[in-house]
């Protein structure tokens, strides 16, 4: 099949210098020469919203979780500033950090129970959190001023000097926005940003890539709360008043609309969305009674015409001007099998309802060994693989890798112990190129995925190029060097399996579990896959291969274990297995096998 060459993947960069230069100059020119005090106030408030949206992009855009608590975090930041400023007369230097810390601490506390929830339950839980925050503020009138709120919030003072309202305040707020934008770019432009693409596309793909999913989601939630707190504090200073309105759901709806219309992952999207939605009501004011209607129609039109947001349109317009990054030369990866150890499974039992899926299964796989696992459909092969890789908890039995007990460990921890798992239907994120995916796995194995690593620049620039160079080497070993820039979505099933294999090798595993790797391959490709697996085993890596394809498996595997109804009914060398009457009766039937 001839396919068009995929478009070169544009590196996300702070670049597109022309765009930023134009945006900045326009804003500055407008602020310095054109804006009235009222307009300056609108511009300042737009800055607060931009900061709020920049934060919301972490949880909604990058982590892909619909949080409805962003408005509440914003309100908490505003109230922290107002209460500390009006009642205790604390200065900006103390109130601003505390306004960030308050929602941050709250998000850290609720994150543990809430982040486990699946999509709409997460949305509901965060909505509940927002409602509780609103009720508390309205009812704790002694502190918060109740429904009336607090007035007389002091302005910002920097280094002992008060920042006057108007142009100076607008400049300070937008400087904080710029700092927030820079931090956001720093955190997401490297492979950690790519990790979030995988995280929100497919949880299975994320775990197979070795990503620390819980931590990534947790950090995104905390960052969104911190940005919201900063935004709330700045708005409190700008307006001088804080009321329960800052906590109401309309703040959340506006934030969501700005994020969707601007673009949910790009920094330009946060700025454009916040500016547009703050100014649109101003521009539509001449319509008087119809202004709200026109506002609604305009939003609807934008979502229909530009579902990927303003930043998406901009990205497409500028795409032609971006330099394609090009591929680095491949850097050889030494597959040492250094983490290889004997996997020992004893008396493993798993029951699903009344069905005994695994019945006291014993199994040993030595380093460098290919163990074939066969058996009739539904005999428990995939369940056994799921138990070993931690996706299913066994009812009884022991599992050890070397001296380390595996039972009770999470799938993430088992993966980090060196067990890599492939699936019957390869779990690949559709939008990433094969190179990006394997490089990501490589960075993940090196512990370079996370906000700390990205803050230190360990997942971008030259370091990223190194991971890509290694990924290219691994892709070459499975015959995919020429497909490095191809998006995973366009791969036929046979090639998708090879990408999965390259990704597993990238994790430097001691044991690889494959579930029907030869499915969908032609005879020649099967022979090549067999040779590749033998070479991987030659490096000391152990392989557990589930397969129905006997012409492929018999010459590939060193030993074979046969499961039937959850029990091991035979084990031995391939030549013994194919003659075993019990195996022939339960499984092989009259298939003619190569000699």
């Amino acid at each position: 099949m001839t396919l068009a060459a995929p478009p070169p993947s544009p590196r996300r960069s702070l670049g597109d210098d022309a765009f930023w230069a134009v945006l900045l100059l326009t804003l500055m020119l407008y602020a310095c020469t054109l804006a009235s005090p009222y307009e300056l106030r609108v511009l300042t408030l737009a800055g607060c919203q931009a900061l709020l949206v920049l934060g919301y992009q972490f949880i909604f855009g990058h982590a892909g979780a619909l949080s409805l608590a962003q408005g509440a975090f914003f309100g908490l930041g505003a109230y922290a500033t107002a209460i500390l400023g009006t009642r205790y007369h604390w200065g900006f230097a103390a109130t601003f950090p505390l306004s960030i810390l308050t929602p941050l601490a709250l998000s850290a506390v609720v994150a543990l129970p809430v982040l486990r929830l699946a999509s709409h339950y997460f949305a509901l839980a965060t909505l509940g959190l927002a409602q509780v925050a609103l009720l508390l503020v309205v009812n704790a009138g002694d502190w918060t001023g109740g429904a009336l709120g607090l007035t007389g919030v002091p302005g910002i003072a920097l280094l002992g000097a008060a920042v006057p309202r108007g142009l100076p305040l607008a400049a300070v707020v937008w400087a904080v926005v710029a700092a927030g934008a820079w931090l956001s770019w720093r955190l997401t432009h490297g492979l950690t940003g790519t990790a979030y693409v995988v995280l929100r596309s497919d949880a299975l793909a994320a775990s197979a890539t070795g990503l620390p999913q819980t931590r990534l989601r947790f950090c995104a939630f905390l960052l969104s709360a911190a940005y919201a707190g900063a935004a709330g504090a700045l708005q409190a200073h700008t307006l001088g008043v804080v009321s329960s309105e800052t906590l109401e759901f309309s703040v959340m709806v506006a934030c969501l609309a700005m994020t969707v219309i601007g673009g949910s992952t790009r920094i330009a999207g946060a700025l454009l969305g916040a500016l547009l939605l703050t100014y649109l009501p101003e521009w539509l004011r001449f319509l008087q009674g119809y202004a709200l209607l026109a506002y609604g129609v305009a939003l609807l039109a934008m979502i229909i015409l530009a579902p990927e947001g303003l930043a998406g349109i901009l990205g497409r317009a500028l795409a032609g001007r971006r330099r394609a990054a090009g591929l680095p030369p491949a850097a050889p990866v030494r597959l040492t099998g250094s983490r290889a150890a004997t996997l020992e499974v004893r008396g493993l039992t798993k029951r699903f309802g009344g069905v005994l899926a695994l019945d006291r299964v014993d199994l040993i796989i030595e380093p460098g060994e290919i163990l074939g696992l066969i058996g009739p459909n539904g005999s428990g092969k995939t369940t056994l693989a799921n138990v070993i890789s931690g996706l299913v908890t066994p009812d009884a039995g022991a599992m050890r890798l070397g001296s380390r007990g595996l039972r009770g460990l999470s799938a993430e921890k088992i993966a980090r112990a060196g067990i890599a798992r492939g699936f019957q239907t390869p779990a690949l994120p559709p939008s990433l190129s094969t190179l990006e995916l394997v490089a990501l796995a490589r960075a993940s194995a090196a512990g370079r995925i996370g906000f700390l690593a990205s803050l230190l620049g360990r997942d971008s620039g030259e370091r990223r190029r190194r991971f890509e160079a290694e990924a290219l080497d691994l892709l070459g070993r499975v015959g995919l060097a020429s497909e490095a820039e191809r998006p995973c979505a366009t791969l036929p099933p046979g090639l998708a399996g090879r990408v999965e294999l390259a990704r597993m090798l990238a994790l430097d595993p001691g044991l690889i579990i494959l579930d029907e790797p030869a499915a969908g391959l032609g005879e020649r490709e099967q022979a090549e896959l067999g040779a590749t697996l033998r070479e991987i085993a030659g490096r000391g890596i152990a392989l557990l291969v589930i397969e129905h394809n006997m012409p492929f498996l018999l010459p590939t595997a060193h030993r074979i274990v046969v499961l039937d109804q959850g029990r091991v009914i035979a084990k031995g060398k391939p030549a013994e297995i194919r003659r075993d009457p019990a195996v022939i009766a339960a499984y092989l039937g009259r298939e003619r096998l190569p000699a």
Binding site: M1, T2, L3, A4, L327, P329, A330, P332, L335, F352, P376, N377, G378, S379, K381, T382, T383, Q424, T425, L472, D473, L475, G476, R477, V478, G479, L480, A481, S482, E483, A484, T490, P492, P493, G494, L495, R498, D515, E516, A519, G520, L521, G522, E523, R524, E525, E528, L529, A531, T532, E535, I536, G538, R539, H548, M550, Y587, L588, G589, E591
Partner: protein, 252 residues
């Protein structure tokens, strides 16, 4: 001469601007098993998707002499085209029984008879009639996908690698059943990677490479044909022959 059950004439499919299928012409007669061979990415699945209507195509698709290329996939299914897709495509929360009954699009006696027939072919499914599809093992899901297509009592059956994930004994039974169906007058178009398996069951074979038909003919003749060999060796992407130690080419 009667109209063939299915006749394609100059069928082309473009994916992302590139030709994925290039002027494919083929026929499947009633009671005939026809195999589509080809390496990974040759266009077998694309062709089946175009015939059932899941991908837009140019060219003629005639079913019993009627042009159906303008019909929706649902209308094509109602005309008697059955399809077992690549990757099973089951409804995860739906029970085995409901999945099968949905496939029948009929009620009463007819549905009950077909249900019995599907369970006879796949006795593994019988104790799991109330089980939701996602709880089945991979092979059982494949059985269910095939059973669902058979429930529609199709006149023409499009099978995309139906043996994927099935234990060897079951593959034998499935191919046997394919022959029985054909003997009952059903036309079958079978996409298959395994040449030996396809040649064992099909009476005629078309070999695809890069979206074109590169060889065709009766199965017993084609099995000795060098053209068939070439179709597979023409595969673009091969596992690196140099092995793990080598330094692969960085780019083509």
């Amino acid at each position: 001469m009667t109209e063939p059950l299915l006749a394609l004439d100059g069928l082309s499919v473009a994916l992302r601007g590139a030709a994925a299928l290039d002027r494919i012409s083929l026929t499947v007669g009633a009671g005939e098993v026809v195999a589509l061979l080809g390496a990974n990415g040759a266009g077998k699945s694309t062709l089946l998707k175009a015939i059932i209507g899941l991908l837009p195509s140019r060219g003629a698709i005639q079913h019993e002499g009627t042009e159906i290329n303008r019909l929706s996939p649902a209308r094509r299914a109602r005309r008697g085209l059955g399809y077992v897709p690549e990757g099973r495509r089951l409804f995860p929360g739906m029970s085995v029984r409901d999945t099968l009954l949905v496939g029948s699009r009929a009620g009463g006696r007819a549905a009950a008879e077909r249900l019995a027939g599907a369970l006879e072919l796949f006795p593994d499914l019988r104790p799991r009639l109330a089980t939701p599809a996602w709880q089945l093992s991979g092979g059982q899901q494949q059985m269910l996908a095939i059973g669902r297509a058979l429930m529609g009592a199709p006149k023409l059956l499009l099978l995309d690698e139906p043996s994927l994930g099935l234990a060897p004994m079951l593959v034998d039974e499935l191919l046997e059943r394919t022959r029985t169906l054909a003997a009952e007058g059903v036309g079958i178009l079978l996409a298959e990677q395994s040449v030996a398996r396809a040649l064992g069951v099909a009476s005629r074979v078309y070999a695809l490479a890069h979206g074109r038909i590169v060889a065709q003919g009766p199965a017993d003749e084609l099995s000795r044909s060098p053209a068939l060999e070439r179709a597979f060796l023409g595969a673009d992407i091969a596992l690196s022959s140099q092995g793990l130690n080598s330094q692969p080419e960085a780019r083509r």
